[in-house]
């Protein structure tokens, strides 16, 4: 029998090669699923950001008097259909700075939440000095 000089792959080499391919494809799949998760979250986040901005504007349009004593209808609620899946909460409090108000909006839905923080200058309460 002639001496066999045509070496093929050893089983170990083939296993290692398959392992490398397997790890590489698992990493690619994981990246893809991460992209999918991000894509699924994006419309909800965009919507929540727009809704939070809307509530913030509602606060900015208030008179200083209303801002000091926020009406209940502006403290929290659900958005009207078709955006009823989103719930909002608003708060306005006097900042450490004189005549500055801290405004905060929280929008929450089943998949997450979004917060918007801002400040607004409000003329101090008028006191009659005479």
């Amino acid at each position: 029998m002639p001496r066999n000089v045509r070496h093929g792959f050893v089983l170990l080499e083939a296993v290692v090669a398959l392992l490398i391919i397997g790890i590489a494809s698992a990493a690619a799949l994981d990246l893809f699923s991460a992209h999918l998760r991000a894509a699924a979250r994006q419309p909800a986040l965009l919507t929540a950001a727009a809704l939070a901005h809307d509530r913030m504007t509602a606060l900015r349009l208030l008179s200083p008097e209303e801002l000091r004593h926020l009406p209940d209808s502006l403290k929290n609620g659900d958005f009207a259909a078709p955006l009823s899946a989103y719930h909002w909460r608003a708060s306005a409090g006097r900042s450490r700075e004189e005549s500055l108000y801290d405004l905060r909006i929280d929008v929450a839905w089943s998949g997450g939440s979004y917060a918007l923080v801002s400040a607004m200058s409000v003329p101090p309460e008028q006191t009659v000095t005479r």
């Binding site: 093929g8 419309p43 965009l46 919507t47 727009a50 809307d54 008179s63 078709p82 955006l83």
Partner: protein
């Protein structure tokens, strides 16, 4: 040393196993890809609606009462007209803004209205931009499903805060604005456009 290579049978079996794994993997991948398609479909109208809101709010927030040096004295700096067209609200807003527009970063005159004119290519909510009164206009179709525009403005003149359907001034801008959009019968606006667009004007404070 008995380093023997794989026989053909072993190699074929190994390839068959790999092939099977690849088939299962690609089937899972296509299942994921199918789930992806509707996601992107819903994401795109949301993106569009959010962009329309951002654009309109950005322009109006920076609306100001100062007339551009090119304008004649007959032009109002801020104009909200309460109009109706075939029973539908067809309000018009005309204002000068210092916000960045497709025309550039200089002041722009913007007319916001609902275009129901069959002869123009634009439909729905349209913005007409010009660098000064009488200059060439650039039209931008913001959303083609809009068929009604109903605007009211918050004025804080003399301490009395009121929502009014019209506003006309050569110097002042209102404190706030609320734009309500409605779609034509049988069509539906994107959810974000069904929510009124509220704006607090910087110059109106």
């Amino acid at each position: 040393m008995s380093r023997r290579g794989l026989t053909a049978v072993e190699l074929v079996v190994a390839l068959a196993v790999t092939g099977l794994a690849a088939v299962i993997g690609s089937a899972t991948l296509s299942l994921l890809a199918d789930r992806r398609a509707p996601l992107l479909e819903t994401s795109s109208p949301t993106e569009h609606a959010a962009a329309v809101r951002r654009t309109v709010i950005g322009w109006l927030e920076d609306a100001h009462g100062a007339l551009s040096p090119f304008s004649g004295s007959s032009v109002a700096a801020f104009e909200l007209l309460d109009l109706r067209d075939h029973g539908r609200a067809a309000d018009q807003l005309l204002f000068t803004t210092s916000a960045a527009t497709p025309l550039g970063s200089a002041d722009a005159l913007i007319r916001l209205y609902v275009d129901s004119d069959e002869r123009t290519p634009e439909r729905g909510l349209v913005a007409e931009l010009s660098a000064w009164p009488g200059a060439a206009v650039t039209r931008m179709e913001l959303d083609s499903t809009v068929s009604e525009l109903d605007v009211r403005c918050l004025t804080g003149l003399a301490g009395s805060r009121r929502w009014l359907p019209t506003f006309l001034s050569s110097q002042a801008v209102p404190r706030g604005l609320e734009l309500r959009l409605r779609a034509a019968r049988g069509r539906e606006l994107a959810p974000l456009l069904q929510l009124p667009i509220r704006v607090a004007l910087e110059a109106g404070r």
